[in-house]
């Protein structure tokens, strides 16, 4: 009782005001970020004329019409029957999947080495690795184009072009993976590794048996984030993927002809692009919050 009396009514009211303001801001941000996705997903299962039933200005109740339609999936089936989208999805999966796996496998070894800090000039090295990620993509585009031409990766061949894409994605995923995983390795107490060595492990065995399982949440998170980056990429894919190794974002952008824009197809394809990343996003959240040392050492 005494305590509640100490907090004056004015202070209480002030707190409630700011709290309400905070919730309004969060709600606005939530709508701002999710409404476009919702509209996209809903419109992808609508006929063209339902999708463009836009209410008059001021007719707020008209917005509810967004939910009154009879669903159709023909935009989706068209993508696969008329536009070879199965192939484009596969291209996206191969390019982003391979690049992410390569980036994380090489990156985990590099990150571990940097985290243990026995490399001379280790600070400069890590900053240099990170700095390669700071350059805008277009800055490396011209030199990469010239290198890839020299390597024959831009010939009209699906596998050559895919290899080019994988290389391009890896150059951007690898520094991120190293930088991201480094902090995960740093959080693993050195004593665990030392204990493993005394218990009879070689360096590599200690890494494999003790360090790797403990860093797994970080490694999975890095893998998923690399996947998301490469999956969403448009600029590399449009230049290095060419026609032979077209990925989903590029194929989506090409869903128009000289006379019309395939809104239904674009929205369906957009949904196909977003949904897997949405799930991966939820997954990465789970791994990022997972506690890592779990009582290994006294805290």
């Amino acid at each position: 009782m005494a305590r509640t009396e100490l907090v004056s009514k004015a202070a209480k009211r002030k707190r409630a005001f700011w709290r309400t303001l905070m919730y309004i801001a969060i709600a606005a941000f939530f709508l701002w970020t999710t409404l476009p996705l919702l509209i996209m997903a809903l419109s992808s299962i609508k006929e063209h004329r339902d999708a463009f039933q836009i209410p008059q200005v001021g007719d707020w109740l008209g917005a509810l019409k967004i939910a009154s339609f009879s669903p159709t999936f023909h935009h989706y089936t068209d993508l696969f029957t008329k536009e070879h989208f199965a192939q484009f999805i596969l291209n996206s999966v191969i390019a982003s999947g391979s690049a992410s796996i390569i980036a994380v496998s090489l990156g985990s070894l590099a990150a571990y080495g940097l985290a243990r800090g026995k490399i001379p000039g280790e600070q400069h090295l890590s900053f240099w690795i990170l700095s390669t990620r700071m350059a805008p993509v277009v800055a490396v585009m011209v030199p990469l184009y010239s290198i890839f031409t020299g390597l024959g990766l831009l010939e009209p061949s699906r596998w050559r072009n895919l290899l080019g894409l994988i290389l391009a994605y890896t150059t951007f995923d690898l520094p991120f993976a190293v930088w991201f995983m480094r902090s995960f390795f740093e959080d693993i107490p050195v004593e665990l590794e030392e204990a493993a060595k005394v218990d009879g492990c070689s360096n590599l065995k200690a890494f494999r048996k003790i360090i790797l399982p403990l860093a797994m949440p970080g490694i999975v998170a890095a893998l998923i984030l690399c996947l998301i980056f490469s999956w969403n990429d448009f600029i590399f894919a449009s230049i290095f993927g060419q026609q032979a190794a077209k990925t989903l974002p590029v194929a989506t952008s090409e869903l128009h002809s000289t006379v019309s824009i395939e809104w239904g197809g674009i929205l369906a394809s957009g949904t196909l692009l977003v949904v897997p990343m949405l799930f991966l996003g939820l997954l990465v959240k789970k791994y990022l919050v997972q506690g890592m040392t779990m009582g290994a050492v006294r805290q």
Partner: protein, 371 residues
């Protein structure tokens, strides 16, 4: 089991000398303590024996083999870390079985099970085998860490402050347990600690280090009763030894310790001891430091004999049976240990006499002990 020998071992971190020209021998089946304040080089020494730090110079032998270039995994040692270093993703059973599974020798499943269960029984953690480290208390984790070390029969056990993070009661309990375990296993144990009580109560022999230098090696009794210098004398014992600056005046056979509060005549046996170790002092007074342990004073309310001095009680700390009494004398404050039954209060004037056969005398410049 095997002995461990260090010959002229140095550890340098850049220009910093962490361990300086250390030569030691830990005998087979001995409980050997490395004792010293933090930064004295004791942990670096242990880590060099384990192979976790490179040996900058010198040689370390386990048994008769030089192990300078041998990988930790091939040294046949077991180590308990200050932080326990349990593998968090493994159960207690898997933690304890780990050295058997990854080691050079192949153990069968049933043999691993048998060994882990035996170790668990000794350490009374049999019912915890299915748990994960995070589900254990500090004391339980520490037992698991010890269990992981004893499932094998290594040449040497290395312990790096294994019980310093437990609460006081558990620490006292574990001191006894560890000492018992070492005797039962008949193992060679090198134990690092900063706690002199741990070292004194557990070790067969103690090596005291300070600032990278070995100060003294000896049994707890030797360390306590015959410290070689002021550092050792002050580090061991609780409360620590009192040091009083004074002069040594020699005139013929009469040797006296003199300062503004007292004049203490040295008995012939102490003079003999001094001469035996240091030769005859020159006739001019020597600058010396008198060392007296808190329990080696006789306290009384009135002047008993000539060879004592007055002090004023600064504070008293009763500890049940004993009492610590802080007494101020000119230019110094002394800590005394006495029976709690004595009626002494703050502000009282007390007459102090030293037990002459328990006195220590140090060179004020070099801090080396005269006796």
């Amino acid at each position: 089991m095997a002995k461990v020998t260090l010959t002229n071992v140095w550890k340098l971190y850049g220009k910093i000398e962490a361990v300086i020209d250390l030569s030691l021998e830990c005998k087979d089946k001995e409980f050997f303590c490395l004792l010293g304040p933090s930064g004295c080089g004791k942990s670096s020494t242990l880590r060099m024996i384990a192979g976790l730090e490179e040996i900058s110079e010198g040689e370390i032998l386990i048994g008769d083999n030089v192990i300078n270039e041998v990988e930790p995994k091939d040294r046949d040692i077991a180590m308990v870390f200050e932080t326990y270093a349990l593998y968090p993703h493994k159960t207690v059973y898997a933690n304890m079985a780990f050295p058997l599974r990854v080691g050079k020798r192949n153990y069968s499943h049933s043999e691993i099970k048998e060994r882990v269960q035996k170790a668990a029984k000794i350490l009374e953690i049999s019912e915890l085998l299915d748990r994960y480290p995070k589900q254990l208390s500090g004391g339980q984790r520490q037992r698991v860490a010890i269990g992981r070390a004893i499932v094998r029969e290594p040449q040497v056990f290395l312990m790096d402050e294994p019980i310093s993070h437990l609460d006081a009661k558990l620490r006292t309990h574990m001191r006894g347990e560890l000492k018992h375990l070492q005797k039962v296993l008949e193992s060679t144990m090198i134990y690092v600690t900063h706690d002199q009580l741990e070292a004194m109560s557990m070790a067969d022999r103690i090596a005291i280090m300070d600032l990278g230098l070995l100060q003294q090696v000896g049994t707890p009794d030797e360390i306590f009763n015959q410290p070689v210098n002021q550092f050792v004398a002050g580090f061991v014992g609780d409360p620590p030894m009192n040091f009083i600056d004074c002069g040594l005046e020699v005139s013929g056979d009469s040797w006296n310790l003199i300062n503004e509060s007292f004049k203490i005549n040295l008995p012939p046996d102490l003079i003999e001891k001094f001469k035996k170790k240091n030769g005859d002092p020159s006739s001019r007074p020597l600058e010396v430091v008198l060392g007296v342990r808190p329990e080696n004073f006789v306290i009384s309310g009135e002047k008993a004999r000539g060879e004592g001095f007055w002090g004023e009680v600064y504070v008293t700390e009763p500890l049940g049976e004993d009492m610590i009494v802080d007494v101020t004398i000119p230019n110094n404050k002394l800590k005394l240990k006495t029976s709690v039954d004595l009626d002494i209060r703050m502000g009282n004037r007390v007459w102090l006499e030293t037990m002459k056969n328990k006195m220590h005398l140090f060179n004020r410049e070099t801090q080396e002990a005269y006796f």
